[in-house]
């Protein structure tokens, strides 16, 4: 990170255009991470480690893009994206939650199959051409969008972004104030206790994993429909794994997930901002930044990251 500070002193990195593009780009790049990481915080809480997140994002990104492209409706695209992610999650639910198979192996399988199938289908339909979607419609919030720097980037976004923020708030309420939240936590901390209390661990975990898949699919669909406007194979580039790390470091708390997602969103989008600032820095260095940030965060906060004790352990009634 030191070279960045050095550049900052030398160039006009703090000009308004640069900051606007940094924050705006951070939001565009951060929203897919936000949805996916919020989803992961649900299923991690319930004790399902979802390593298939990357595959589910890709399924959502591909199916969402195809529907949006053929139906000319971004809303339908988002809905289809949720469906696509949920299909991936359904495999996880059946194999890992119902049958109690190894979550890590199945997760890797879903990621590999998701990467392969979306790339194959994309190639089979479009060959090597990549059709683009039009620019997404944005909804400006009157008044607030006039604030310098923050206004145009924060308050002039597609409706889905506001829904995402609201959803994070909803999750806080769900986790803290409702029985459902308590059930989810019990399913991850001590499933036997939840079972003894008369709540089905299997059902709780199934719904949690399905919700995660849907949200990852939505994140993927946002990435392809709004973020890039195009679907290319392997478009997620490890964002599914980044979402898992964000959730781990945020200890499953939606507020921190939000903060983490946008910090990583900014580091993903920093390339454009730096180009605007006239800093010429290799794209490889920039692509590495979010991962270096994560490793540094893990080294510094290693003891603070938290995972529920029953995570990735299948629940089988009566087994010890």
């Amino acid at each position: 990170m030191m070279p960045l500070l050095h550049f900052a002193a030398a160039s006009n990195i703090f000009s308004r255009a640069v900051l606007t593009s940094l924050v705006g780009g951070g939001i565009v790049a951060g929203v897919p991470l936000m949805f996916t990481a919020l989803g992961e915080s649900i299923s991690e809480r319930a004790g399902v480690l979802n390593l298939g997140l990357e595959g589910m994002m890709l399924l959502g990104a591909y199916i969402g893009f195809i529907v949006a492209f053929h139906m000319h409706s971004q809303t339908l695209g988002f809905v289809a994206g949720i469906g696509g992610g949920a299909i991936g999650a359904l495999i996880m639910v059946i194999l890992c939650v119902w049958l109690g198979l190894d979550q890590i192996v199945v997760g890797i399988a879903i990621t590999l199959a998701g990467e392969g199938i979306t790339s194959v289908l994309q190639g089979a339909e479009f060959g090597s051409s990549y059709p683009r979607l039009g620019a997404p419609a944005t909804a400006a919030i009157p008044g607030l969008d006039k604030i310098p720097v923050l206004g145009p980037s924060l308050f002039n976004q597609p409706v889905l972004v506001y829904i995402g923020f609201a959803f994070a708030g909803f999750l806080v309420w769900l986790f803290k104030r409702t029985n459902i939240g308590l059930n989810l936590r019990a399913a991850g901390e001590k499933p036997e206790a939840l079972d003894a209390a008369g709540v089905s661990v299997i059902a709780t975990r199934s719904w949690a994993a399905l919700a995660t898949g849907g949200l990852a699919g939505l994140g993927g669909a946002y990435l392809s429909i709004v973020g890039a406007g195009v679907f290319t194979p392997f478009i997620t580039q490890g964002q599914g794994y980044m979402a898992i790390v964000i959730t781990m470091l945020a200890r499953g708390k939606p507020g921190w997930v939000l903060v983490g997602s946008f910090l990583f969103g900014i580091s993903l989008s920093i390339a454009t901002a730096l180009q605007l600032a006239g800093v010429n820095i290799s794209i490889d260095v920039i692509n590495m930044l979010p991962f270096i940030a994560i490793i540094l965060a893990l080294v510094i906060f290693a003891r603070r990251s938290y995972l529920p004790p029953a995570l990735a352990i299948p629940y089988i009634r009566g087994a010890r």
């Binding site: 399988a109 080294v299 990251s305 010890r320």
Partner: protein, 404 residues
């Protein structure tokens, strides 16, 4: 691993146990041997079925896509085995096998090293940069040196996850993946920066002269890296099954707390396992670069490791049993290039096959475990008919009737 899943509840019912006959007084050796044969046969069937199911499911997928699965699979045979292309398959197998052995070592300790891509590319980039600079040394010396450099670099790339895991029990799945992404970036920076060949326009390293590459086995085009890989598999198998290091790894994999109790230095063992695994991945990079490619392009990432994982599990973390699986996949992957090109499909179709193999593997494993535990819904007669379909049946074994 797949075996560590806890036992279903009905296992506790003693009447269900029919597969374990108590040894009688005569100690009939024939009986024991037939059981051993049956167990081996079971293992073989359980390892092969997922592969077959995945190929069938992949064929169905090809049909849906409007491709001819028969010609797709026969293209794989043509491009992977016939007319000397088996030599290409053998050479493709070298890095795959070395990575598979590296993963076997660390998976035995129940640790996940998923950072193989970064480790592989860092090692590969370093030696492609270094090789043209040491052309004055004798070939044997420089090749050994390059292998060692690649192994050391890849091993060093596992250090951060290893130390984090050993010190803070940080989830190594995440850290190795993150280090992998960084490694891919570092390799690109090296290839585009200090190691770039200034005489060509595209970013790539200088090409290692042919006489500085790994020599081929006399009479074939196959480079000796294949022999190195096979030797590594045999040595690893010996170390894992016949030495205290192998035993300590297995104990750590089964139960880290138990390992600490019996005096294993868990932290040091975790780091050692990571280093060995990384070094083998680095050797894979050296074998591939010095045996086949001779140079490295920017953004080159063969992603061998992803495709190797299912076969490591199918071989039950056995470094020798993994060899036939890798041979199979090497053919699939070499022939897959031709088949995918003929069918006008992306080669990423192979990733789908690999994913399907993994999925079917976990399911078959589940069914097999239930069968071992005697959980079945069949009547005793049907069940013994399934077990031994070719025997003429007149009576139902006594034990099975009582077992119900």
């Amino acid at each position: 691993m797949t075996d560590s899943v806890s036992v279903p509840a009905h296992a506790a019912e003693p009447t269900d146990v029919v597969e374990v006959p108590t040894p009688d007084f005569e100690g009939r050796p024939g009986h024991v041997r037939s059981r051993r044969v049956a167990a081996t046969r079971d293992l073989l069937i359980r390892s092969l079925i997922p592969v077959i199911l995945a190929l069938v499911a992949g064929g169905l997928l090809l049909l849906i896509l409007g491709r001819d699965p028969i010609s797709f699979y026969s293209d794989i045979w043509k491009g992977g085995v016939q007319q000397g292309s088996w030599e290409d398959s053998a050479m493709r197998g070298a890095p795959l096998l070395l990575i598979a052995v590296g993963l076997t070592v660390i998976f035995r300790a129940n640790i996940w090293n998923l950072g193989y891509d970064g480790q592989f590319l860092v090692g590969a980039a370093l030696i492609t940069g270094l090789a043209p600079r040491i052309v004055s040394t004798p070939n044997a010396v420089s090749l050994t040196l390059l292998f060692l450099v690649a192994m050391a670099a890849a091993a060093a790339w596992t250090l951060v996850p290893a130390l984090l895991k050993a010190r803070f029990q940080t989830n190594e799945i995440i850290t190795t993946l993150m280090m992998s992404f960084i490694g891919v970036g570092v390799a690109n920076i090296l290839v585009k920066g200090p190691f770039q060949d200034p005489t060509v326009n595209i970013p790539q390293t200088r090409v290692i002269p042919l006489n500085r590459m790994l020599p081929s086995i006399p009479g074939t085009r196959i480079h000796v890296g294949v022999l190195v890989a096979l030797a590594a598999a045999f040595i690893a198998h010996f170390v894992l099954t016949r030495t205290s290091f192998g035993l300590r790894l297995s104990v750590l994999g089964a139960n880290p707390r138990a390992a600490a109790h019996v005096g294993v230095n868990v932290r040091r063992l975790i780091v050692t396992a990571f280093l060995v695994s990384g070094a083998l991945v680095g050797a894979a990079a050296a074998a591939d670069i010095l045996g086949v490619w001779g140079y490295m392009r920017a953004n080159w990432n063969p992603a061998y490791g992803d495709t190797v994982i299912p076969f490591v599990f199918l071989a039950r973390l056995n470094a020798l049993a993994v060899i036939p699986f890798i041979a199979f996949f090497a053919v699939l992957s070499t022939g897959g290039d031709l088949a995918a090109a003929n069918a006008n499909l992306s080669t990423d179709f192979l990733l789908v096959l690999v994913g399907l193999i993994l999925l079917f593997m976990t399911v078959i494993e589940f069914l097999g475990r239930r069968r071992d535990l005697g959980a079945t819904y069949l009547t005793p007669g049907l069940r013994s008919a399934l077990r031994n379909p070719f025997r003429r049946r007149t009576e139902i074994p006594e034990e099975e009737v009582t077992a119900q």
